[in-house]
Amino acid sequence: MDFLVSHFAEILFYILAALAVLGSIGVITLKNPVHAALSLLGTFFIVAVLFILQHAEFLAAVQVMVYAGGIMVLFLFVIMLVSARGLTTQAAFLSPLVPVAVIGAILVGALIASAVLLGVFATGNAGPEALQTVDGEVLGNTEAVGMVLYTKYLVPFEVVSVVLLVAMIGAIVFGRKDRFIEEHEGEVGS
């Protein structure tokens, strides 16, 4: 019982981490795309809880709001519009097994290597306070993230937003392409 109480966060972390891995396996193995999307939704949710365990409450809330609330709705929307029932009989994504396995192994290796290098050698264990502190004052995760994002990382932040804007414009251009060509079809030849 004492062990349970003193190691509650760690135990919770391992349970949740296992569930997250199970959820992400479900995403690529479930044959019904809607079930896969639901599995992904569950994984997002568990990742949000993991953020909370690390005292990154702002990230957790944004994770739920943006990924679970926004992006997953659009996923489901698309899946339903392309008539999911017709897709359910198709094989899962895993058919070219060997190349996928090789790429996956390389990526997992890189992930573990970077986690070990960054976690142990580079920064050490910063602890949860680092995620809550602004100028040596504990204010909260929202303030800490906002402060870092708009001062230290302002330029990368703006660059990323421009990249996203370009991607959005690109999506609109692709979406409207057919209509544009139809409207201007006669003009090129004449």
């Binding site: 809607v34 079930h35 409450e57 702002f58 957790a60 809330a61 709001m65 679970a68 929307f77 519009l81």
Partner: protein, 349 residues
């Protein structure tokens, strides 16, 4: 009993039970109020058979839905069909955890807070959790294996995603004025400012309220269940308790949207017009009125507005709905956030 167990387990558990009972009771009598008010607006009597003046009508309705046969249509995606109502209901109830109904008070020496949690991301928590409810509607519509249900679910998804954005910006304008994301902090900021945020933030308040009505799929934005076109939209195939869960979740969401409006823009549990009538509210006759009374009174007003709208406005067409959302509310809410930010900067900085 050791203090930590009392503090960590017993009090929150009691609070959770009380909260659930109160919320579900209000929801039950909200359905009664809606039928009665609509009836009077249309010069009818409304429910008046079960109990005096129909007071026991919600009990009868609940009993009926409870014992009704639970149908699952052939060709339905069974698992998803079963969990969809729960996915709608759970977020609707979870959100009440951070709603501050009143000020902290003392009972027998123990300080009791009339809210479950005062977390420093309460606003984000509510926005995040509220965006999960839409999954139940989409999945319920999709799993029913019914064209009308699927249409209802898709409409609902499009509508909720569209109106979430201006709603988020409108909420952000109140957060800017308060300078905190905690619900309790926002009410306290209005006490300090001596103003409800409604008055300096009237534009944000208007946008919030319109989006709030749209987010709960109520008139004039009830396209996901437009009965003239879609039978009953996403819950056409649902019966018995599963239907009841959709129904209860809709009213619980109305309560949350109203409660958020009260907290963000109308001073939460503070008495009305704190700047003009402060002397009046300090009188001993009136000072004993608990904050929860003011909170519930303000919330009831917004709930009445919901019913009022339903009795008054015709339904939008879908393209009109999208126009209002994207071409009017979205740019307006963006401009509003910038204006409020500028105002806060000039006044405070």
């Amino acid at each position: 009993m050791p203090e930590p167990i009392l503090q960590l387990l017993l009090i929150p558990l009691i609070k959770i039970v009380v909260l659930l009972v109160v919320v579900l009771l209000i929801v039950a009598y909200l359905t009664y109020a809606e039928r009665k008010i609509l009836a009077y607006m249309q010069v009818r009597l409304g429910p008046n058979r079960v109990g005096p003046k129909g007071w026991l009508q919600p009990v009868a309705d609940g009993l009926k839905l409870f014992v009704k046969e639970d149908l699952v249509p052939g060709g339905a995606e069974k698992l998803v069909f079963m969990i969809a109502p729960a996915i709608v209901m759970v977020p609707a109830l979870v959100m009440f955890a951070v709603v501050p109904f009143g000020e902290p008070f003392k009972v027998a020496g123990i300080s009791v807070t009339p809210y479950l949690a005062d977390i420093n991301i309460a606003i984000l928590f509510i926005l995040g959790v509220s965006s999960l409810g839409v999954f139940g509607i989409i999945l319920g519509g999709w799993s029913s294996n019914n064209k009308f249900s699927l249409m209802g679910g898709l409409r609902s998804a499009a509508q909720m995603v569209s109106y979430e954005i201006p709603m988020g910006f409108a909420v952000a304008s109140a957060v800017l004025m308060a300078g905190t994301l905690s619900m309790v902090g926002i009410v306290e900021a209005q006490r300090t400012a001596q103003w409800w945020f409604m008055f300096p933030g009237i534009l944000g308040f208007g946008i919030y309220w319109v989006c709030g009505v749209a987010e709960t799929n109520r008139n004039p934005f009830d396209l996901p269940e437009a009965e003239a076109e879609l039978v009953a939209g996403f819950h056409t195939e649902y019966s018995g308790m599963k239907f009841a869960l959709f129904y209860l979740a809709e009213y619980a969401n109305m309560m949350i949207v109203s409660a958020m409006a009260v907290v963000l823009f109308c001073g939460g549990w503070l008495p009305p017009f704190p700047n003009l009538l402060a002397g009046l509210w300090a009188l001993p006759v009136l000072a004993w009125i608990p904050g929860a009374f003011w909170f519930l009174a303000k919330m009831s007003f917004f709930l009445f507005c919901y019913i009022w709208f339903r009795g008054t406005f015709p339904r939008y067409r879908f393209d009109q709905l999208m126009n209002v959302g994207w071409k009017w509310l979205f740019p307006l809410s963006l401009a509003n956030v910038m204006l409020v930010a500028l105002g806060v900067l000039l006044l405070k900085g």
